[in-house]
């Protein structure tokens, strides 16, 4: 089915239940920050195709525009030029077909309990209370927060807050899940824990995921595909495929594999050389 751009804009994301998405297309997407003194090019024109079911990780030094790119995908920032398409629909704004997990847990609502936070996306869809609750509880169970459903977000640890954010995003059953340095503010051990959980979630649901990180290990561990970006202006300098995430081993086992260690070393030196 072909949809004219006009129709697509007037009907942003029907967000139908179980909606399947074939992929994400970027055509000539660039971004320029209009500064007071001079403009800063944060993202050079970029063409990209993300296939459904892919776990795409964007890795790069700080200031490479990777978070800007993610917010463009989310529809929170408009690209200075170019367009983002989901299948044939042009992205004109944020929508629940691209739920986002943010780095800052300030995105959780402090006046809502953990369960009610997870229900947020379902409340704005006016789902009946019982259905909201059962779906929220299912997602809370998936991320291991069932016991904490009635707590306030500030009573949770940093790692649990990020789990809550993941549950909230998954509760709306988004065809595409976006993560913006979701574990960047966590300590090393908690981070490994959450990487494991995210890996399990992806393996279970095979959802399309786009994640931004500055951790090389995280990128190699989780991505089926890794985009390496250069320092400002952001440019994709490499596009790599990995299969570590699909291996039937534990995260700890993968981390100690020689080929994993070697891959990380190569990628790290490539990033340092940029």
């Amino acid at each position: 089915m072909t949809v004219t751009p006009q129709q697509a804009e007037t009907a942003p994301s029907p967000g139908a239940e179980g909606e399947t998405v074939r992929g994400l297309r970027l055509r000539g997407v660039s971004h320029v920050y209009r500064g007071g003194v001079r403009d800063v090019v944060s993202l050079d024109p970029l063409d990209l195709d993300v296939v459904a079911g892919e776990f795409l990780v964007i890795v790069g030094p700080s200031g490479c525009g990777k978070s800007t790119l993610l917010e463009i995908l989310a529809g929170l920032i408009r690209p200075t030029s170019g367009d983002v398409f989901i299948d044939d629909r042009r992205v004109v704004g944020p929508s629940r077909d691209r739920a986002v997990v943010f780095q800052q847990s300030t995105s959780l609502y402090p006046w809502l309990t953990v369960r009610r936070n997870v229900e947020l996306g379902l409340r704005v869809r006016n789902l009946p209370r019982s259905e909201r609750r059962s779906r929220a509880d299912a997602e809370l169970a998936r991320v291991g927060l069932s016991e904490f459903a009635d707590q306030w977000p500030h009573e949770l640890s940093g790692g649990m807050q990020q789990r809550c954010q993941i549950a909230r995003a998954l509760a709306v059953d988004p065809p595409i899940l976006l993560l913006d340095e979701p574990f960047g503010a966590l300590d090393a051990l908690t981070r490994e824990n959450l990487q494991h959980s995210l890996r399990e979630i992806w393996r279970e649901t095979r959802r399309t995921v786009v994640m931004v990180t500055h951790s090389v290990e995280e990128a190699v561990l989780l991505g089926t595909r890794v985009l390496v970006m250069s320092h400002r202006p952001g440019r994709v300098v490499d596009d790599l495929r990995f299969g570590f995430v699909t291996l039937n081993s534990t995260v700890a086992e993968i981390r100690s594999r020689p080929d994993f260690v070697e891959t990380c070393r190569t990628l790290r030196s490539q990033l340092l050389g940029l």
């Binding site: 929508s95 691209r98 986002v100 609502y109 947020l120 704005v124 869809r125």
Partner: protein
Amino acid sequence: MSKSVATDGLDLPWARRLAGHSDPSRRFRGVGPIVAIALVGGIWSLVAYLQIWSEIILPTPDRVWSALVESVTSEGGRRGLSGHYLWEHVGASLWRIIRGVFWAAAFGAPLGLGLGLFRTFQAVAEPIVGFLRSLPPLGYFSLLIIWFGIDDTSKVWLLFIAAFPPIAIGVAAGVASIQPERVKAALTLGATRRDLVRHTILPSTLPDLLTGLRVAIGFAWTTIVAAETSNGIPGIGGLAWATKKELRSDVAILCVIVIGVVAVLMDLVIRLIERRLLPWRRRS
């Protein structure tokens, strides 16, 4: 000769506290207000019973106590003070406050939302609100009396104009300080404009609304007591003002105490409401 260990470092309780360490001495916590009342009461009694000044300048505590008794009883067809019981005076003042602050909140909160959400509206409306806020309310009271008469209407208007700027400005500041991630989260979960206001902006600004309300009530209370100097009986400010004619310094002191106690109680009520409406703020 043995050399002593270094002891020339500063060791002051207040310096330790300012340096971010908890002060171990909690001796005066909680008893502070009691000590303060005892201290002021003691000095007052001492000076009054020594009769340094006449009873008209400084009445004794038991004279003020008699005034309190007089204010809540009737004797030979005389009801309380200035024809009304004490609770009628306080009640009349509070009723004016409630009406004035109610309209101030009903008008100020949406105004604050508008100021916080719309730049063009803010550019025009903020100077007006700021100007009104900077005026001492009694400065425009005469005008309100000319417009609305000498009865309660002009007083409620006075309170309304005095009370809405802090509410509007508080809510506007609350809107401006909403965490951007909260808004981003709502947008990416598919919120409509109505959802955004209802689920994100209103709950985010509720604490600021309550703070604004508290400031407004405090300001309104000081204003109404002053405003009741004209045709303010019944009213606690009117009662206080009337005492000067008969040199009832005992009633004047009684009024001061009642005005102060009511102010403290109103603040307490708002704090209780805050605790009730913002349960997530209670740290465990």
